[in-house]
Symmetry: C2
DNA sequence: CTGAAAGCGCTTACAG
DNA sequence: CTGAAAGCGCTTACAG
């Protein structure tokens, strides 16, 4: 890339200054006289100078890059968050390594290994991962989780952690309260983890709260835990419950993709949505706005979550005091056709 | 990350060899006696040694990282390709920088800048981009395009280029031939670029070929070019054509997302799919299999395309002779409900 | 505010 | 097959 590499020395000679000075204008940290700065900048431009990231990193130990670990990159909810992160990082000149783990333990380990070698300045974790906590706590870089949290209950939040979420308990409560008010009493719950001291637990709590408030008992037969949050899993769950002959009048899936898969199964099995079965999803992905029927959902501000995560991360690595490291953004309950709008 | 960094010197001392030797086992290029190798490996393990990517890169100019430029990461077609690339690269210990450009000229430039600084060993381009050719030809790294091609007609393909596509002309032909045989004579065409010496041109050619063969004249009113391949654009096109009162009996969208958006608009406007209007998409994303009705489409082997791209790239940077650098993978025409199955 | 110099942790001819 | 040494292109105290 570029014929002969032009180094800081070339620039220094061209500008008639020392190499250290060029370095200083590059990192514009210390004071450099405006005049000198100008001269150096001109020289850099004339020579088409590009700093060598390796050399910079070797000395400063700052890689100008970050890493993102995502459970499922094909889920549009996550890709939208990634877009938010990437755009923000790019503006600050950071590169973003991406690792798609499919929740595979080994891939997570390998990803972390690569990130260590690359000396990323920070790691983002999107979605639920088993046991990442263990691996990450002895890393010394900041970690920001998005949509999920690292379960560190009972202890003070380590200064290198932050999380961007919505209030998952209230979100799940909203969805269920809405369904209950519609007269639904038999809601199938499609969940991933529910006992993780984390998002899953909060959502399940919201589910329980709403039912309790409406005087409805929980029916174990309607609960599906540990599901992968894919279209396929939603689809299969509905077939399963139908085959078992369990009666139900609505579905609350903790992911739009899963809800969409469920709707497809309902259609194949001859249930009408929303007449027979009302469906509520979670995430707010675009596909839910265009599906037939369109999907009622909890809209997480995905792009904003990504942006916010990146900004906080940037603050953390610049050693700024970040006092609010457990950020809870507003969600929006979006009513659409799948619940009869 | 790691308390005190253990360097190659520490390993050398621990193993009782020279630093150069440690380096040699690390890069297992040159011959090292099995005995020495063993000793070094043991020492590395004992000390928990992690090579410093900066130092390696500075000397060898090999970053062990690649860059991916994608037009729209929220499109599941691309994210599946990315999964294929990432998985393959990871196995070889490469990190993958991701840049989501949304086809914005400036973001592309900035992305390329960052990649130059990071000295990525190769660049993948997914989807259509305007004028990337210009920027990339003076880069000295290999470039592999996936789903699209860099238009270099009339010249020999530069040795640092490769492309992974399907036969887009035949694919589009298949879709249109199928529609024509169903008796459709007024197919709305939803395209992005059509005059780009590239994928778009090929697809449009296939469209024309099929119509010609069936003795159907092209109706300009049915042609939508330069569309963004999103759900929204598909949706809007249908509203536009409906408002103009143009008669049509089917839709061929060059992207599943666009087709899905179109189906939503049709539903809102009271058209029945497939009874009134047949719809065919392109890409083969999962969402099309679960939509209601399910979507007939051209299935591009997305994951395989990503894997193949990464493998070719690895071959190219390892200076292996790659004779087949314009790889054309098989597509599959998948018939579903949106055309009456 | 700025220059000279040391050194970050590797790789790679150069000898042997 | 292996060791000693130079050097990759920066950054950063240290002086001034």
């Amino acid at each position: 890339m570029g014929e002969k590499t032009v180094t800081i020395k070339d620039v220094a000679k061209e500008a008639g200054v020392g190499a250290g000075t060029v370095s200083r204008v590059l990192n514009d940290a210390v004071h450099v006289s405006p005049k000198t700065r100008k001269a150096v900048e001109l020289a850099m431009q004339r020579l088409g100078y590009k700093p060598n990231a390796f050399a910079r990193g070797l000395k400063s130990n700052n890689s100008y890059s970050m890493g993102v670990i995502v459970a499922d990159i094909t889920n549009p909810c996550f890709s939208k968050i990634i877009r938010g992160i990437e755009g923000t990082l790019q503006k600050s000149g950071f590169g973003m390594f991406l690792f798609d783990t499919e929740m595979d333990e080994e891939k997570v380990t390998q990803s972390i290994n690569i990130m260590e070698e690359k000396k990323v300045s920070g790691i983002f974790i999107l979605g639920e991962h088993f046991d990442t906590k263990k691996m990450l706590t002895d890393l010394y870089v900041p970690v920001v989780t998005v949509t999920s949290q690292i379960p560190i209950c009972g202890y003070e939040l380590p200064s290198n952690f932050a999380s961007i979420t919505i209030n998952n308990e209230r979100a799940a409560y909203s969805a269920m309260d809405f369904l209950c008010k519609k007269g639904k009493r038999k809601t199938v719950l499609l969940m991933s983890l529910a006992d993780d001291e984390n998002v899953g637990k909060a959502r399940y709590q919201g589910y329980q709260n709403a039912l309790k408030e409406h005087g409805i008992e929980i029916d174990q037969e309607l609960l599906f835990f540990n599901q992968r949050l894919s279209m396929e899993s939603g689809y299969e769950c509905i077939y399963k419950i139908h085959e078992k002959g369990v009666d139900f009048d609505s579905i609350f899936a903790v992911s739009d993709l899963t809800a969409l898969g469920a709707m497809r199964a309902l259609s194949e099995l001859g249930y009408a949505v929303p007449e027979d079965i009302a469906v509520v999803g979670f995430d707010g992905i675009e596909q839910g706005a265009y599906s037939i029927p369109s999907l009622t959902t909890i809209d997480q501000p995905r792009f904003l979550m990504g942006e916010t995560a990146a900004k906080i991360m940037l603050d953390m690595i610049h050693k700024k005091k970040v006092l609010n490291r457990e950020i809870i953004l507003d969600f929006e309950f979006v009513e659409r056709e799948s619940t009869g709008k």
